[in-house]
C-alpha cells in the first residue's frame, strides 16, 4: 500500500507534464500573410486581417493540433481605393476571379500531425481548404517560442509558420502565369493559454 502510494506520487509530475497545453489564437496578433509573383517582376504582398483558431501541444507526448480559420473577405494588399479605376485590386481579389468571398467566406487549415523538434513543435502537417477544395499542406515553424503575457500573466506562445501551395490546385486559375501560381504563406501567430 505504501509502495503503491509512493509510486503514484512519484508519477504525478510525469502525468502533469504529459497534459496537453491548449491555446487560443489572439486575433489581434495573428497575421496570415502571403506573397505571390507579379508578371515575373516583383513579389506582391497581401494579408488577411481577420482570423481565428486554436492550437495545442503536449511536450512530453510530442503531439499537438491546430485549427485556423481565415476570413477571406479581410484580404488586403494595400490597394482598396479604386479612384478612377473600375475596381481596386482588393475588390478584384474578393471577386469570383480569385477568392470568391461571397461563395466561400472562409479558408482554413486543420492539422493532422505535429512534428516536434527538441522540445517544441517544428512543423505541422494538415489540410488547407480553399474555395471548397481540400489539399494537404505542411507548415514549418521558423520560430516557436513560449513566454508569459505581461498583462494577464498567462502563458503565451507564438511564432511564425511558413508553407507554399499552388492556387491552381484549388481551382484559382485566373491570370496564371501573369500572377504567379505558387503562393508563399507566412502565418505570424500568438496565443494565450486557455
Amino acid at each position: 500500500m505504501k509502495r503503491r502510494l509512493a509510486l503514484t506520487l512519484a508519477a504525478l509530475p510525469l502525468i502533469a507534464a504529459a497534459a496537453p497545453e491548449n491555446f487560443t489564437l489572439d486575433p489581434t496578433h495573428t497575421y496570415p500573410s502571403f506573397t505571390v509573383e507579379h508578371w515575373g517582376l516583383s513579389m506582391m504582398h497581401g494579408r488577411f486581417d481577420k482570423s481565428s483558431g486554436k492550437f495545442s501541444f503536449d511536450r512530453a507526448a510530442k503531439t499537438g493540433s491546430t485549427e485556423l480559420t481565415i476570413d477571406t473577405a479581410s484580404i488586403t494588399t494595400g490597394d482598396n481605393v479604386k479612384g478612377n479605376r473600375p475596381q481596386s485590386r482588393d475588390d478584384h481579389l474578393r471577386s469570383g476571379d480569385f477568392f470568391n468571398v461571397k461563395e466561400f467566406p472562409t479558408m482554413s487549415f486543420k492539422s493532422t500531425k505535429v512534428n516536434f523538434g527538441a522540445e517544441l513543435p517544428a512543423s505541422v502537417e494538415g489540410n488547407l481548404t480553399l474555395l471548397g477544395v481540400t489539399k494537404p499542406m505542411t507548415l514549418t515553424f521558423e520560430r516557436f517560442k513560449c513566454g508569459q503575457n505581461p498583462f494577464n500573466k498567462k502563458d503565451r506562445c507564438g511564432g511564425n509558420a511558413v508553407g507554399k501551395f499552388k492556387r491552381s490546385d484549388f481551382g484559382m486559375k485566373y491570370a496564371i502565369p501573369g500572377v504567379g501560381d505558387e503562393i508563399a504563406l507566412n502565418i505570424e501567430f500568438e496565443g494565450d493559454k486557455d
Binding site: 469570383g96 474555395l131 486559375k173
Partner: protein, 273 residues
C-alpha cells in the same frame, strides 16, 4: 507562342472570334451554324481558366450550363420539336437552374434575403432567356442581340470587379460578331434556332447574374440588359436588304447596350454606402 495564348485579348477575343467564324462557315448550310456560339465560349473557358467542374462552385455550374445549352438546343432543333410552351418552359427551367447555381451563396443569407436575391436573379435569367428565344427564327436580329448582350455583359463586368465575366461576355460578343460577319458576306441570314438562342440567352443571363451575385454589378444594370433582345425583335429596318439590316441592327443593339455599361460605370463613381 505561349505568351500569345496567355494574352486575355487572344483568349476572350481573337480565338473565340476565329472559332466562331470557321465553325459558322463550315456549318452554314446546316441548321447548326449557331453551334459556333457555344464553341467560341467553350474556347474562351478552356484558354482562360480551363474547363473543369470540381469543386462545383457557382462559376463552374455556370460553365456547365453554358456548355450544355447548345447540346439541348441541338436536340430540340434536330427533333423538330414544336410547342408554343416550349420556349417559356426552357426559360422557366433556366430560372430554376439559377437557384441551383447560386445555392451556396443563398444558403449563407437570412431566409428573407435569400428568397429576394434568389427569386430576383432567377426571374431575371428566365426573362432574358425567354426574350432571346423569341429571336430564334431571325438570324440577323439574333446576331445583333448577341453582340449587344455580350458587349454589355463584358464591359459591365470589368467595371464590376469581374475580369473573368468580362472575358466571357467579350467572347460571346465576338462570336455574335463572327456570325453577323458571315451573314453580311453571304447576304442571307443564318437561322439560330434553339441551338443558338438558348446558348446566347443562358450564357448572357448567367454571366450577368454571376457578376451581380459574386462581384459588384448593381441590379439596375441587370434590368438595363433586357431591352437589348427586345429592340432586336422590333421590326426595325424590316424593308432593308439583309446586308444593310446586319449593319444597322448591329449598331442599334450596341447602342442599346450602352445603358448597362453606363449603369455599371455610375456604380463605380457612386458606390453604395
Amino acid at each position: 507562342m505561349q505568351a500569345l495564348l496567355d494574352d486575355p485579348m487572344v483568349q476572350a477575343g481573337v480565338a473565340p472570334f476565329l472559332v466562331a467564324l470557321v465553325l459558322g462557315r463550315t456549318l452554314a448550310s446546316t441548321r447548326l451554324a449557331w453551334l459556333a456560339i457555344g464553341a467560341a465560349v467553350a474556347v474562351a473557358f478552356a484558354m482562360s481558366t480551363g474547363i473543369g467542374f470540381t469543386p462545383l462552385s457557382a462559376s463552374r455550374k455556370i460553365m456547365l450550363l453554358v456548355l450544355l445549352a447548345p447540346l439541348l438546343g441541338v436536340a430540340i432543333d434536330l427533333s423538330s420539336l414544336t410547342h408554343r410552351l416550349l420556349a417559356p418552359a426552357l426559360a422557366l427551367l433556366s430560372g430554376l437552374a439559377t437557384l441551383w447555381v447560386f445555392q451556396s451563396v443563398l444558403a449563407q443569407r437570412e431566409a428573407a434575403d435569400a428568397w429576394i436575391l434568389g427569386g430576383g436573379v432567377a426571374l431575371f435569367v428566365a426573362v432574358l432567356v425567354h426574350l432571346c428565344l423569341r429571336l430564334r427564327d431571325d438570324g440577323v436580329a439574333a446576331g445583333a442581340a448577341t453582340v449587344g448582350l455580350g458587349l454589355a455583359v463584358g464591359v459591365a463586368a470589368i467595371l464590376s470587379a469581374s475580369l473573368g465575366n468580362m472575358m466571357n461576355g467579350i467572347a460571346l460578343a465576338v462570336a455574335g460578331a463572327a456570325l453577323m460577319l458571315l451573314q453580311l458576306l453571304r447576304g442571307s441570314a443564318l437561322v439560330p434556332g434553339f441551338t443558338g438562342m438558348l446558348t446566347v440567352g443562358v450564357a448572357a443571363a448567367l454571366f450577368a447574374a454571376a457578376t451581380f451575385v459574386l462581384a459588384e454589378l448593381r441590379w439596375h444594370a441587370l434590368l438595363a440588359l433586357l431591352p437589348v433582345p427586345l429592340v432586336a425583335a422590333a421590326p426595325l429596318y424590316a424593308n432593308r436588304s439583309p446586308r444593310v439590316r446586319v449593319v444597322l441592327l448591329g449598331l442599334t443593339c450596341v447602342l442599346v447596350a450602352v445603358p448597362t455599361i453606363l449603369a455599371a460605370w455610375l456604380a463605380t463613381r457612386f458606390p453604395a454606402s
